[in-house]
Amino acid sequence: MKALFYPGCSMQKNARPYLDSLLAIRADIDLELQEIDDWNCCGATEYMSVHRVAAHSLIGRNLALAQQQASDSDVLTAGCSACYLNLAKTDAQMREDAHLNATVNEALAAGGLAYQPGSLKVRHLLDVVCHDIGYAAIKARVVKPLHGLKVAAYYGCQVARPDYDGRWDCHEHPTAMDQLLRALGAEPVEWSLKTQCCGGHMSVIGPEVAFGLIRRLIHGATQAGADLVATLCPMCQLNLDAYQVEMNKHFHSDYQMPVLYFTQLMGLAFGKNAGELGIGKEFVDAAPALAKIQAEAPKVAEAKRKRRPKPSDGLPPPRME
Amino acid sequence: MSDSFEPVIIGFTCNWCSYRAADHAGMTRTQYPPNARLIRLMCSGRLDPTFVLKALADGADGVLIAGCHPGECHYLEQNYKALRRHRLLQRTLAQFGIEPERVRLAWASAAEGVKFAAEISEMVEEVRKLGPLNWPARPRPLATVPADIPVLSEVAA
């Protein structure tokens, strides 16, 4: 499939492995990405804090350029959660609020641009991969299944919330990445913190808050038995990976939980080599975890055999049905 | 002139919801402009487009049709009939040059006095902006030729 692509500032540098791994796998999943020419920063959460209308106009320029450059796809995808949310939020609020729409378009007109809200479908990369490419197509491409690798799927905040266009099954416990991991042969662990905050900009402006949040996530993944955490956002990766080292210093702890992008795991399963996927650029070395990948699928079927319950087992188990 | 223009609105209300919403507005002393005069029907489904046409032709500047919220009709689903009639009526009225704001469909439950008052306030303002409808009177037929009518052959000369 074809999609317009907004890489965002982070992917250019601090999340370079995310971009590299995406570029490495795009042919395998038949994803044709058209980068928006001369895009600008989305303003993260900061611009919005200073000038609301200007922030929407800043984002509006990207939307306008994308609309202008769109040829045969109206899907605009971004890999960074903040970039994705900003684009989606501006589009949604321009749709909802006629006054905002008029104001932003008036500002855009000063640069000779215009944007018709709703003309693009803003989607996160994970959404496109899981829901458009689909698990079956991905599974079909797997040559080196990630058997034996236990992964904590970590979604962070801004992809799942506030979810203006209803793209996800749940605000708090989405399952798309878990299903993706299963398609790659890995074993997603069940854990409570899938969409808890990584600390966001607090790692810079209030590190002690961030360290607490990072520790909880890293501890939660460890407690759930994960070998590594899979993420879909440069900010989350940076906080959980780079700041994990700082967090260990702060708490005098020694967590060693590698944090990789889901695209890197897809690359591994598709048989790419680690270097090509930017693996090795993480602060917490992923090599020991990746060494656990087994050639054979682990035997879990036996244990899960259905059996009639007995009252002596205790109360019937909880169910999510 | 338009400063002093006070639109006259005829409101058709349902006995079970919107008429009671108007009662409720009263009980809660919710103020709204005095431009609307209400007619009680048993249901918005009783709303015959003829009533709307007649009200407009007889001097009303706007007509409000208020029923129970969709799915809450006291007669199960008759308010949907009002909805359908309103949509077709609007299309027809447009051809007569009558602005859509002049015939408003609103939903208000018996407990929504405030909403009902707000609907009226909004509508009065919208119609005030449009100005008077002032539909010209129907001509009154004359039994005999007025004395001063010139003879046809003279007109031609």
């Binding site: - | 009639r85 040059g97 009518i149």
Partner: protein, 329 residues
């Protein structure tokens, strides 16, 4: 030799009403036998001045067909009212404005624009008819067009109404029989304002097609249907049929041959506004609940005012488009 006087006049109309009277075959001879035809421009040569010269109320009955569109129409309505004991609005135009009345949805300017400079007109100099024109031969005059079409009863008092476009010849014969009977003392005049030559119900009453509960999910034009069932209700087949809201009396001529009723006999007895009745009936049976879905069905009716008021616009509650009415003095 003192036969009562009969007149028939043709105002703004197509002339179909005149033909319909002649179509009554030998009934015309009976008319001639019982009446002195004093004025009937379509059938015989009587000068206008002769009518003017008649004593007031010297015509027993005048069948007035056609709408009031021009100053001349209005003048003749007044004149014939004064000269007639019984003035009959004859045919749809005189009663309801009929097809000429549809012009009420446009202003005169729009009409001239469409007629004299429209896409099908070759008129590079944008010539327009003038009411007064100085020609080498002298001054030519043309009666001015009034802003909106009116019905006869909006101009003068009317005694009886005979609906139809045109009235069915069979029904005209009934009316003539009644008049003759009255003249011969064999019958009394019906109460003033009565509708003559029509039924008391609607077209469906006479329509032989089978019918069921109605649920409209799509409205089509006849040419859009792959085939037409010859025995079931046309409305149920998705065709906009005006029969349910149109006065009976025509023996459901159109539906009989597979064409939907277009409503020429006007509103049913006691109905104030025929278009509103059609509108409410059609909207009521649209089988949808969501506004968008309702709209999809209604999109099958591209010209609702023109459809519902095809014959009765000039006589309806609103009568005309606001811009056209605004020009009325």
């Amino acid at each position: 030799m003192s036969k009562p006087k009969f007149a028939m006049y043709w105002a703004s109309a197509c002339g179909g009403c005149e033909i319909a009277v002649l179509n009554t075959d030998e009934k015309v001879l009976e008319l001639d036998a019982n009446f002195d035809v004093a004025f009937w421009p379509a059938a015989m040569d009587v000068k206008y001045q002769e009518v003017e010269a008649m004593e007031d109320a010297s015509l027993l009955v005048t069948l007035f067909n056609g709408a009031i569109r021009t100053d001349e129409n209005e003048h003749m309505a007044h004149l014939l009212r004064r000269k007639s004991k019984i003035l009959v609005a004859f045919g749809s135009c005189a009663n309801e404005g009929c097809i000429p009345g549809l012009a009420n949805l446009s202003t005169r300017e729009d009409l001239f624009e469409r007629a004299y400079s429209g896409p099908s007109t070759e008129n590079p100099e944008h010539l327009r008819p003038q009411t007064i024109w100085r020609a080498p031969e002298g001054v030519l005059t043309l009666t001015p067009l009034q802003p909106v079409v009116r019905t006869l009863d909006q101009v003068v008092e009317v005694d009886y109404h005979v609906p139809g476009c045109p009235p069915e010849s069979r029904q005209i014969a009934v009316v003539l029989d009644l008049l003759i009977a009255v003249v011969n003392g064999a019958a009394e005049l019906p109460p003033k304002g009565a509708v003559l030559g029509a039924g008391e119900s609607t077209v469906c009453d006479e329509c032989p097609r089978s019918r069921d509960v109605k649920r409209l999910t799509k409205l089509s034009r006849i040419q859009e249907l792959p085939s037409l069932d010859t025995t079931t209700c046309l409305l149920e087949q998705g065709l906009m049929c005006s029969g349910p809201a149109t006065r009976s009396g025509c023996d459901s001529r159109c539906p009989n041959v597979g064409a939907p009723c277009i409503g020429c006999y006007g509103a049913a007895p006691g109905v104030l506004d025929q278009g509103a009745r059609l509108m409410t009936a059609i909207a009521s049976v649209v089988d949808e609940k969501e506004p968008e879905a309702i709209d999809r069905v209604l999109d099958g009716l591209p010209d609702p005012a023109g459809t519902f008021y095809r014959f009765s616009l000039a006589h309806s509650l609103l009568r005309a488009n606001r811009a056209a009415l605004a020009e009325t003095p």
